[in-house]
Symmetry: C2
Subunit: 522 residues, 2 copies
């Protein structure tokens, strides 16, 4: 088709524009209505295409990539139903404020009225998880459309942007040169008055609390918060489910606000000034009768030092300066972690072993749920690393996040701490790890139940669940065999039933190139 | 809690009302906001709760149950993200016009304003796949709400109904007696004039075509269509992707309209009258440049004998009578199918073996995609059985449909013909088959690629796909090991690489209680 050589298609223009704007990766699960875009990825070099065998793998991976790289990846998804399979992890990406750009192929514009079997209202599906939704109208517009989506995605603090691309817009010729990529906007600085008010409030309050979220949990933010704490000697809390936290080594560490709202209310009781940096004030994860939705005391005055879209780290540094804090806080040396041994294996033992053996610079993906605590409490004593968490409560993000993190940082070991129940939602991610030979160590905490639901049943006064409640929170009958599941997708795996085995397998996995999995039977 | 014994909770009232309306099954993947409903399932006997480890399993199973039982099952899903995981298969249920009632727990009404992590716009997510969406407001209203949803779901021809149930409405006391269950509406009869017009049109046209869909593909509809064909000697077509087709044994059989629109247009060329029964006129599955969306000739006049919500079988019988058709058409005896043998295994051979060995009364779930044809062309010669198809094009319904069909019909063997690519989307269904000991034979056609996309690339003129297009349509590197995957979820499996092995494994599976899987490497 010689004219194609002279007049690129809309799809080619879209990919050209995306590459020009710096896009390097596309997590894809395409179908027929995306084939011109697939073809364009071959014709326009510059984008690594990573196949997921389920769309939730693609969207979760794009989130993980964004959290680690700080840049948006594309996803390529098939019409409404394909997109729908990616919504749960986009919900998490939205809560993580991750820049992600979804490309959804749709029917040709002239075919929509036929209401063909795969037709559905994609805008209605996309809106709840997207800060930007656009349906493209012409081939010539695609380049500008994707640049607008990319720009929206990185608009501080970051968001999910969704582009619905009809098939004819992809395959039709697009003669116009694409517009230039816009400059990436910077996070807005916090003005001096806000910093001065926060400093004054913290100095004059009897019980001020500093609450950190989002970018405040990076190295600069944490260091500044440590200076503030040194100056005020008042509590500092981190948000409970953070997208990304720098941790370990010589980094300062702050306690996360407890998950159960009664405990969080207790932890914050008596605060008269509540200063937030990088996150809105904390609310209860679920409603609990008799416990307020807002966790800080109603009598505390709230002061937002920095919103998520602000330059949070700079604001914290300015606040530390205003408080006359020391230039630098040197952390007390922390005790080395001692490796567990012996026959007993439980989540605590496994978490300790992970923290003790964690390699410098690792990325820990934490979807350990009730089994993750053993690691979490030891993580400040581990080597310097990054933790990615479950931000939106939509389970099934751990393995996909690990895929995206590993693609973004091929030189870092990724350790995925994975609850078994959650892991089943997007287990297809293991295959992508194998295909892409990603250096991921997957630790599955196999307690064979939805343990959090067991706890919540007790909290709801259902101390003796009946047979149905028991069955619906139980993952046994039959037990999942994670070693077989991993083998089925080309990932080597080992089962550990003792601490000694777990340590052996973990050492082996951490020194194995490509992915491997350890089923910790706890 | 003694007062609870006297004042049931909203959740209990809801379950009471559902049981009173005849609900017997709930496919569930609950979380914290659904626990009062889980508890109510224990307190109010009558509902079998079936756990899925992923929500798409639950929604696809509810669709399969509805198609086989003709009655709605409940699903129980966790907030927006949990529901979202079920959307793709609800899209198929919507296209199948299956009665399904989704119960989605949401945050307590007073907690929504807090915008807690799991909060999202559930109505926006639910609307594209639901004919009925209601957000409950009070505990006392729940019984009436679920009855309204159930009534909407069975309003002919059937639809998906979604009820969003805030947690406080579930746990608050509901003193009022629930209202009585409304009578189930019947399909509207087709009036005599419509039948007479259709008869006149078919008699006077030079080239009338009868097109069957929905309920027309049941035993009564097919028998009536055979009478019509005997009277008119004109072509009769079945819709391409039917929800449920009765087939085999002595049943009449009609060719399905071809999938590729060019072929469908050819098949219908020359028709001057196009009579539909049980389905709207056929449209192209995807847009193809130069091919119209509507497949019947633009010059043909369309006459709807019966809409999907009508009593389609009765209308066809009336039309046969009006055409003076014979009372009964006896099918010519069909040749017996000969079992394949030898070393060569391919989709055609496997399909023939399935058709030849199919037990009387089996339910075949057909998500074989490009590999399914070998079975489909032999199915009229198989024993009397029922086929369930992929109605909405959202792949990943096969294994869940099989779960629902097996729950609805424990005395019938279910045979799931499953393309490998599609099967990966909802592979968690294997675990539910094992837990519930469902008599399902899963045949995985392991061609290790998205073969339909390979075909569509060629059709789009991309004869030599580049490395990215090749990688994104290829399921090898690594190969999926379906025997390991099945074993990981407690399902025994065997791999066949020859026809002889396939026949042996198939015989063994068909005589094995509970689920088993055959990976046919083709």
């Amino acid at each position: 088709m010689p004219e194609e050589a002279f007049t690129p298609s809309g799809a080619q223009r879209l990919v050209e524009a995306a590459v020009g704007a710096g896009v390097e990766v596309c997590f894809a699960n395409p179908g027929t209505t995306e084939l011109p875009l697939v073809d364009a990825l071959d014709r326009v070099p510059g984008v690594r295409a990573v196949l997921g065998l389920f769309e939730g793998v693609c969207t979760g991976a794009a989130d993980g990539y964004a959290r680690v790289a700080g840049e948006p990846a594309l996803t390529l998804l098939h019409l409404g139903p394909g997109f729908a399979n990616g919504i749960a992890n986009l919900h998490n990406a939205r809560r993580a404020r991750s820049p992600v750009v979804n490309l959804i192929g749709d029917h040709a514009t002239w075919h929509l009225a036929a209401d063909a079997p795969l037709t559905s209202d994609i805008v209605s599906l996309a809106s709840p998880v997207s800060g930007f939704v656009r349906t493209c109208g012409t081939a010539d517009g695609l380049a500008g459309d994707v640049l607008a989506a990319l720009a929206a995605s990185v608009d501080p603090p970051g968001q999910v942007a969704t582009l619905i691309v009809p098939a004819d817009c992809q395959w039709d010729p697009a003669p116009s040169q694409p517009p230039p990529a816009p400059r990436r906007p910077r996070a807005a600085p916090v003005d001096e008055e806000t910093v001065a008010s926060a400093a004054k409030a913290m100095r004059t309050a009897s019980s001020p609390v500093l609450y950190l979220g989002g970018a405040a949990l990076g190295e600069r933010g944490l260091s500044a918060a440590a200076r503030i704490q040194a100056a005020t000697r008042r509590p500092v809390f981190a948000e409970t489910f953070a997208a990304k936290v720098e941790r370990g080594g010589a980094l300062p560490w702050f306690q996360s606000l407890p998950y159960f709202p009664e405990r969080a209310v207790e932890a914050l009781a008596g605060a008269d000034v509540f200063v937030t940096a990088g996150a809105p004030p904390p609310v209860s994860f679920f409603a609990v009768p008799g416990v307020p939705s807002t966790l800080s005391p109603p009598t505390a005055s709230h002061l937002a030092l920095a919103d998520p879209g602000n330059d949070v780290a700079a604001a914290l540094e300015a606040l530390a300066d205003a408080l006359g804090a020391p230039e630098r806080v040197v952390q007390d040396p922390r005790p080395a972690l001692e490796l567990p041994s012996g026959p007993d294996l439980n989540a605590d033992v496994a978490g300790l072993a992970v923290a003790a053996l964690l390699p410098e610079g690792a990325i820990v993906v934490d979807e350990g749920a009730t089994s993750g605590l053993g690691y979490t409490v030891r993580s400040p004593f581990a080597a310097r690393h990054t933790t990615l968490g479950l931000t939106g409560g939509a389970i099934g993000i751990g393995l996909p996040l690990a895929v995206g993190a590993a693609v973004a940082a091929p030189d870092r070991r990724v350790v995925a701490l994975q609850a078994d129940g959650s892991g089943m939602y997007t287990i297809q991610a293991l295959w992508t790890m194998a295909r892409e030979a990603l250096d991921v160590t997957v630790v599955v905490f196999a307690n064979r139940r939805y343990a959090i639901l067991g706890l919540e049943l007790i909290r709801a006064g259902i101390d003796r669940p009946g047979p149905i409640a028991t069955a619906l929170t139980d993952l046994s009958r039959p037990d999942l065999d994670w070693v077989s599941l991993a083998a089925g997708m080309g990932v080597p795996g080992w089962r550990a039933t003792t601490a000694d085995q777990f340590v052996d397998h973990l050492r082996r996995s951490l020194s194995t190139e490509g992915p491997s999995l350890i089923e910790a039977v706890i």
